[in-house]
């Protein structure tokens, strides 16, 4: 049995002394499709990059590491690139060239491959991934899913023996993620390339994998794949957000009638006569495929985009907060603390409020860190915290749980629920069905520019063929959180005067 990766007692610490990996014994068989599972910030990226010296982090490494029997640092750069390939999490920031064709050829040019052979390799890889129809397109015009497929194809053009992928589907919607995983599965099974995927959401990948390891506390341990196989979210397993506090007579916060919206005159209509109503104090989750208009509807509600026909009435427009899909759009300062203080004077909240928010988000130890140096989950929490400090009456959230692990999702969902309990109205666009099922009071399905259905979560999800939430890590964390809250509530009631205690 040939081992693609073998490490013993592998340790790594960053220059500031942070020990990320401790005595890691890691094996990957040749031809395997291994999942490397761990929470956000557990060290998955650090471990993966040890196998690719060109991008290994700066720090102190100890122990032994072999990739196909050789220390990766001992290989010449060209040989190393043809041994181990790497696919990053965010393709948009890692694509180098302006067209698909050139991006595929980039690595081959670096290796000094002869032009005729280059063209042949391009043809092979483009055909394998079905890239030929968009071969000449600008990379800037590709969807997220296409960009990630391109990244994988460009990596495979160099014919590596092993491909290491760092959260490759974290930024993709579920459909694009599934398509990508299927391509990766073919790479592994048909081409025999060893695959290691670092992920905090293994449920979607369990059916493709051959084995899994978990990284926790700097150490690695094997875990059975069955632990990750997806199960449907049963009604008995969790309870939806309480709707008792959304009164029928609460009034409408948002009223959209016959809204027609497009980006510009040359673009097709995104919203086509859409009607929607959001009650004050509710949480409406907008579901729908890519391009169905979820983000556009949020922008129309926030009045950043205006309908060319119809109207959007937003009674809470003066006190709204908008969380974009990429939280980096909100960051203007050099540290997490400065971000939270940026609107302090304008909104009148104090240092105590900032400290309390840091504590609720678990960011006390990260106050001096630049927002871009935070992990994905920490960035999302920081962005949400920044918005919540302004005490908005309307929260517009675009994919608030994207790219987060289960525990981080539960924390974010908790913050959103607290804001709603304090009186805010929430509208969230999301692909996360479990989040919609467990946290929303209303679910609206967008299709063909209109709302195809708008119902309470229990009614919406009870009879779907495709929109079925899974009992994933978030659902389990959310249940645990709810049970802990219920226990605390019961204990407080017991301790109250006149209570059972």
């Amino acid at each position: 049995m040939t081992l693609a990766i073998e490490s013993s007692d592998l340790g790594f610490s960053y220059p500031d002394g942070t020990q990320v990996l401790e005595a890691v014994d890691w094996t990957v068989e040749e031809g395997a499709f291994q999942l490397l599972v761990g929470a956000t910030g557990s060290g998955k990226t650090t471990l993966l990059r040890q196998a690719v010296p060109a991008i290994a982090p700066v720090g102190e490494r100890s122990g032994r590491l072999r990739v196909f029997g050789v220390d990766p640092a001992a290989r010449p750069p060209r040989e190393a690139a043809q041994t181990a390939g790497y696919v990053f999490q965010d393709p948009a920031s890692h694509i180098v060239c302006d067209t698909v064709e050139r991006e595929l050829a980039f690595g081959l040019q670096n290796l000094g491959v002869d032009p005729p052979l280059m063209r042949r390799r391009l043809a092979e890889v483009a055909h394998f991934f079905g890239i030929e129809p968009w071969l000449h397109r600008p990379t800037a015009e590709l969807s997220g899913g296409q960009q990630q497929v391109l990244a994988l194809a460009a990596c495979l053009a160099l014919r590596p023996r092993i491909v290491l992928l760092d959260e490759p589907t974290a930024q993709l919607d579920p459909v694009a993620g599934k398509n990508f995983l299927h391509g990766l599965f073919r790479v592994n099974r048909e081409l025999g390339v060893t695959v290691v995927v670092a992920t905090h959401a293994p449920a979607a990948m369990a059916d493709y994998a051959t084995d899994a390891v978990a990284l926790e506390g700097g150490s690695l341990a094997r875990v059975p794949l069955d632990a990750f196989r997806p199960r449907p979210l049963a009604d008995a397993g969790g309870h939806a957000a309480p709707r008792a506090d959304v009164h029928a007579g609460a009034g409408l916060a948002i009223d959209v009638r016959d809204a027609w919206v497009r980006f510009d005159k040359a673009s097709p209509w995104v919203l086509r006569g859409l009607d929607a109503a959001v009650t004050r104090g509710s949480h409406t989750a907008l579901l729908g495929g890519n391009g169905s208009g979820k983000t556009t509807l949020l922008k129309a509600i926030s009045q950043v985009m205006r309908p060319e026909r119809g109207f959007v009435k937003n009674a809470l427009a003066k006190g709204q907060a908008f969380l974009p899909q990429d939280p980096r759009l909100l960051f203007m300062c050099d540290s997490a603390m400065e971000e939270l203080q940026e609107w302090q004077r304008a909104c009148g909240y104090g240092d105590d409020d900032v400290d309390e928010m840091l504590k609720r988000c678990g960011l006390e130890s990260r106050v001096a860190v630049h927002p871009y140096d935070l992990s994905g989950g920490e960035r999302q929490k920081l962005a949400l915290a920044k918005l919540l400090l302004t005490k908005p009456s309307l929260l517009l959230l675009d994919e608030p749980t994207k790219g987060l692990d289960g525990a981080s999702k539960a924390e974010v969902a908790g913050l959103i629920e607290e804001a709603r309990a304090a009186g805010a109205t929430v509208v969230s666009a999301t692909h996360d069905l479990a989040f919609a099922r467990l946290c929303a009071t209303q679910v609206a399905l967008l299709f063909d520019g209109r709302v195809a259905a708008a119902e309470a979560p229990e009614a919406f999800f009870c009879d779907n063929a495709f929109y079925r939430p899974l009992d994933d890590a978030f659902a389990r964390c959310w249940r645990a959180r709810q049970e802990a809250a219920d226990t605390r509530t019961r204990a407080e009631e017991d301790d109250a005067p006149g209570g059972e205690g």
Partner: protein
């Protein structure tokens, strides 16, 4: 050159574009200027379509009028007086000179539009990539980054505008209201109080994000063996015999146009009266260079249909 242009190596399109642009600027002679302008207009119709060409005319017309009338008003030269205002006379020769300047300027702009409607960044890389490989890669990266930065700038601006809760206490939430939004336009302006700082803040975010991305992009380059040794060059197409013949024809027409055009220009004078019209034969090479490729393109059905996203401009 549209569909015809795609049949030939990019060098042919660039040679044709470069020769027409340079010679347009050199020929200050009425007939040559008219031929140049007509050829440029025809090239635009062939490459960009009638609507885009008309849109170009819409903004060029005032500019042309300014140039033509400027010379007419301020250069009191010539012998054929058209009219007089007080002691100031206005001459036909000044008007003609102004019109020729305006036509030359418009022709040059139209030739640029036509060339860069068919030339892609890939074409630039095909031409310079072998001689200046790092420049070629930088060009390619710039072409992909410019639209990305533009999109991000718009997105940052939209997010700033949408977060009205962050400015309401300062009274700066000028744009947000609870009134129904009727169809008044696609985007609303930023809150008034912060509008002076907004462009700088947008720029700060976009530049900072770009610098962060540069680290990721560098990692992506290194992971694919960038800097590991001499690079080979990826060429989408080589120069075939047909391309070489087309290039030779363009070169020959350009040379003949240069010689004949300079003769015609030297022989002609605007002042004190228009004189020195050259034999019609001297204009033939220039007319062929300006008109033949576009006429061929139109005869073959005009610009290709799937080129919308692939052009520099």
């Amino acid at each position: 050159m549209g569909a015809v242009g795609e049949l030939f190596h990019p060098a042919v399109a660039f040679a044709w574009g470069a020769s027409t642009i340079v010679l347009s600027m050199a020929f200050m002679q009425p007939v040559l200027a008219v031929v140049s302008w007509a050829g440029a207009a025809l090239a635009n119709v062939a490459c960009r379509g009638l609507r885009a060409t008309a849109a170009s005319f819409a903004w060029q017309a005032p500019l042309m009028a300014l140039v033509a009338l400027g010379n007419f008003v301020f250069a009191a030269q010539g012998s054929t007086e058209l009219f007089r205002i007080g002691a100031r006379a206005f001459y036909l020769e000044s008007l003609v000179f102004g019109c020729v300047m305006a036509l030359s300027l418009s022709a040059m702009l139209l030739w640029f539009s036509a060339l860069f409607s068919v030339a892609t960044p890939d074409d630039v890389l095909d031409l310079v990539g072998g001689v200046l490989p790092v420049t070629g890669l930088l060009t390619s990266m710039t072409c992909s980054l410019v639209p990305q930065f533009t999109r991000r700038g718009r997105a940052v601006r939209d997010v700033m505008a949408a977060n009205t809760a962050a400015v309401r206490a300062s009274g700066g939430a000028g744009g947000a209201s609870g009134d129904p939004c009727r169809a008044r336009g696609r985007r609303r302006p930023l809150p008034g109080a912060a509008s002076l700082r907004q462009p700088l803040r947008v720029l700060t975010v976009v530049v900072g994000w770009g610098l962060e991305d540069s680290l990721d992009r560098a990692a992506s380059c290194k992971a694919r063996a960038w800097g590991s040794g001499p690079r080979t060059r990826y060429r989408r197409r080589g120069l075939r015999r047909t391309d070489a013949l087309a290039l030779a024809l363009v070169g020959a027409l350009a040379l003949a146009s240069l010689v004949c055009g300079l003769c015609a220009t030297d022989a002609f004078a605007f002042y004190p009266h228009l004189r020195g019209w050259a034999p019609w034969g001297l204009y033939a090479p220039w007319a062929a260079l300006c008109l033949l490729p576009s006429a061929a393109t139109l005869a073959l059905g005009g610009r290709s249909g799937d080129d919308a996203g692939d052009r520099i401009i």
